[in-house]
């Protein structure tokens, strides 16, 4: 199903990313009474990021339920409820707080469909917001989604626009398995066009955000925006950059990336996450293997530096990729 085909039937509004998410949730919860939503501060308060604004009013305490500070319990409940025929969405708010729930995610949610021989489905959405924004420090900034991608059985979604967040959230909720739905805090108040009504964005279909011929940039989440900014700048310098957003890293759309590298011969991977054993390594390994003959230069990776997140703004800035550092990497790559 092509997204553009749908749009022609629908009204397009400019919505904040956060509101596009709420719209998806509301539409889905109206459609399916087995969906419920739990998390801290997501009830009457409407969420720390306003990511559930209005939902408690509409659906009430049973289906939109505030939780104590029990991430393990929340996710454990999500797993059990999903096994028992409901479709829970468990909101962790800051991704960093998911650590104690890791066992429930890995050992239970990701594993049970396989181990039960397909007899038990775990249609669980775990929602969380990641990313370094405004000096939140080491406990409120991490991007470790590669961990989830390392575990067979989990799907990993990284929406980078208002439109994607709505279409991907709907797909996540309707998926019969566990989905890690990881938003970026930076995006929440950013506006973008969003079709009204029902549309799904399929998992495993990358978005070619910008066409180009000299260099391919693979970027996820906030880095898509930075890459687009860099690409616009580089165009003025005569460098034509193609920007690819995989949107989901599990499943991962290798094909779109390989075709792009086939065309450009040069790949830069930009990831806010850590480099070592991160998704940037996987994407590089895939292209280095399957696109071996297409590469005119070594693949470059630009990621956050290998440090915890410093609180100090100068240090934090130094740690993170930026449109400028992306542009500089591209220049290095084309001159290689």
């Amino acid at each position: 199903m092509s997204a553009s085909a749908i749009e022609t039937h629908q009204e397009i509004r400019e919505l904040q990313y956060v509101d596009a998410g709420v719209e998806a949730l509301q539409e889905e919860m109206r459609r399916d009474p087995t969906i419920f939503y739990i998390g801290q501060g997501i009830g009457k308060r409407g969420g720390n990021f306003k990511q559930t604004r209005g939902m408690w009013d509409e659906f009430g305490d049973l289906r939109v339920r505030d939780m104590p500070i029990s991430e393990l319990g929340q996710v454990g409940m999500g797993v059990g409820a999903a096994m028992a025929g409901a479709r829970p969405v468990v909101d962790i708010v800051f991704l960093d707080m998911i650590m104690e729930a890791m066992g429930q995610i890995v050992e239970q949610a990701a594993t049970i469909h396989y181990t039960s021989n397909g007899k038990i489905k775990v249609p669980l959405v775990v929602r969380a917001a990641m990313g370094a924004v405004r000096c939140a420090g080491p406990h409120h900034s991490r991007c470790f989604y590669s961990w989830f991608a390392h575990i067979p059985g989990l799907k990993v979604v990284l929406p980078s626009s208002s439109k994607d967040v709505k279409g991907l959230m709907k797909t996540a909720i309707r998926d019969d398995g566990p989905v890690m739905f990881i938003e970026h805090k930076f995006f929440y108040n950013k506006k973008g066009p969003v079709p009204s009504g029902d549309y799904l964005i399929p998992f495993g279909q990358a978005n070619v955000c910008r066409k180009g011929k000299d260099v391919t940039i693979l970027a996820m989440s906030l880095m898509v925006w930075h890459a687009m900014e860099a690409a616009a700048k580089l165009e003025q310098e005569g460098i034509s950059v193609e920007v690819i957003d995989p949107r989901t890293i599990v499943p991962f759309d290798e094909q779109t990336l390989l075709e792009s590298v086939h065309k450009t011969g040069r790949l830069l991977i930009v990831d806010e996450a850590q480099q070592f054993c991160g998704f940037s390594a996987e994407a590089a390994a895939i292209v280095a293997s399957k696109g071996f003959d297409d590469l005119d230069a070594p693949i470059r990776r630009l990621t956050s530096l290998a440090t915890p997140h410093p609180f100090n703004p100068v240090l934090e800035t130094a740690m993170l990729p930026s449109p400028e550092s992306i542009a500089a990497e591209v220049r290095r790559l084309v001159s290689a």
Binding site: R63, M77, S116, N117, K119, G177
Partner: protein, 320 residues
């Protein structure tokens, strides 16, 4: 004796089925053909049988690494259970799960579990699903004394109390976690007393008295179904055998202790009580024994005759 004859015999049969099933498993395991590890429940059958006799097929159970008894009591097909533990394709999960990963949604059995404590919040979740669906189901979580010291116990039970979920938390306190005595690593070993911390009733029961367990669990389940919230039930019991098959279970437990607990065997105890109270007689009970023997033998045969797994299926079912 308060119980009806039907109930007493049903509980007797339930326990006997678990016991004979496991002793047959043990035999096969000892013959060396069974992969992995098994943790036998012998001596603790009253808990699974007493609790599950109160449940409908639709109600949910989450279980543990020592979960064969829960599976059988909740209604998993005995042959499929045998085959599963044996890793055979006729197993309820095609042999992919084995002893610690038995799942059967057809009878609300949400799994044995290799992770201590993990089933506790999962039961709260199943209970939450029941509320959301308005289905009236309850969820029971079985777990050991070892789980009480674990974080999952805390959050799972605390949440159930906060949300007044239709859940029942059944601690099988056999006083050891592997070889570690509960009291050596725990300041307060009175598990029932921990209920108060969470604001839910905590009840202590003789875990080898199946009728008492049946009664107490029945009340808790009725309360849960009526919307009156969860209950914590501590059943003090004992495993006759080692922690896993292969552990003699004697290095860390005295012969006297083991012998003493064997005298309190829940099956013999019910049998004697039934006979003594003339609720039924040896003939009835022996008839059940024979039926169970046949059933177990059939279960074994069912499993033994199972075709081997096909390596080509290894990547099936990673995603739903």
């Amino acid at each position: 004796m308060e119980a009806t004859k039907d109930l007493a015999l049903a509980l007797y049969r339930s326990m006997r089925r678990i016991r004979e099933f496991e002793l047959r498993l043990q035999q096969v395991y000892r013959s060396g053909v069974m992969p992995g590890f098994i943790h036998l429940y012998v001596g603790e059958e009253a808990v699974a049988s007493g609790v599950c006799a109160n449940l409908t097929r639709e109600d949910y159970v989450t279980s543990t690494h020592r979960g064969h008894g829960h599976a059988i009591a909740k209604g998993v097909h005995m042959g499929e259970c045998f085959a599963e533990i044996w890793g055979k394709t006729r197993g309820v999960n095609g042999g992919r799960g084995g002893s610690m990963h038995i799942y059967d949604p057809s009878c609300g059995f949400l799994g044995t579990n290799g992770i201590v404590g993990a089933g506790v919040p999962m039961a709260s979740g199943a209970a939450m699903a029941s509320l959301v669906k308005g289905s009236g189901q309850v969820a029971v979580s079985f777990f050991g004394d070892g789980a009480v010291n674990n974080c999952a116990f805390h959050e799972g039970i605390n949440l159930a109390a906060a949300l007044r979920l239709p859940a029942i938390f059944v601690c099988e306190n056999n006083m050891y976690a592997t070889e570690t005595p509960f009291h050596r690593v725990t300041a307060n070993t009175n598990v029932a007393s921990r209920g108060a911390a969470y604001g839910l009733p905590g009840i202590s029961v003789d875990g080898n008295d199946v009728l008492e367990i049946h009664k107490v669990a029945g009340e808790a389940i009725r309360r849960a179904r009526a919307g009156d919230g969860p209950t914590l039930i501590e059943c003090t019991t004992y495993r006759h055998l080692g922690h896993f098959e292969g552990d003699p279970g004697t290095g860390y437990r005295s012969k006297e202790e083991i012998a003493e607990w064997k005298l309190r065997d829940p099956i013999e105890r019910l049998r004697n009580a039934v006979v003594a109270s003339r609720l039924s007689d040896a003939q009835d009970l022996n008839a059940i024994d024979s039926e169970v023997d046949v059933e177990v033998e059939q279960a074994y045969q069912f499993a033994a005759a199972s075709p081997e797994a096909d390596a080509a299926t290894v990547s099936q079912f990673v995603f739903a």
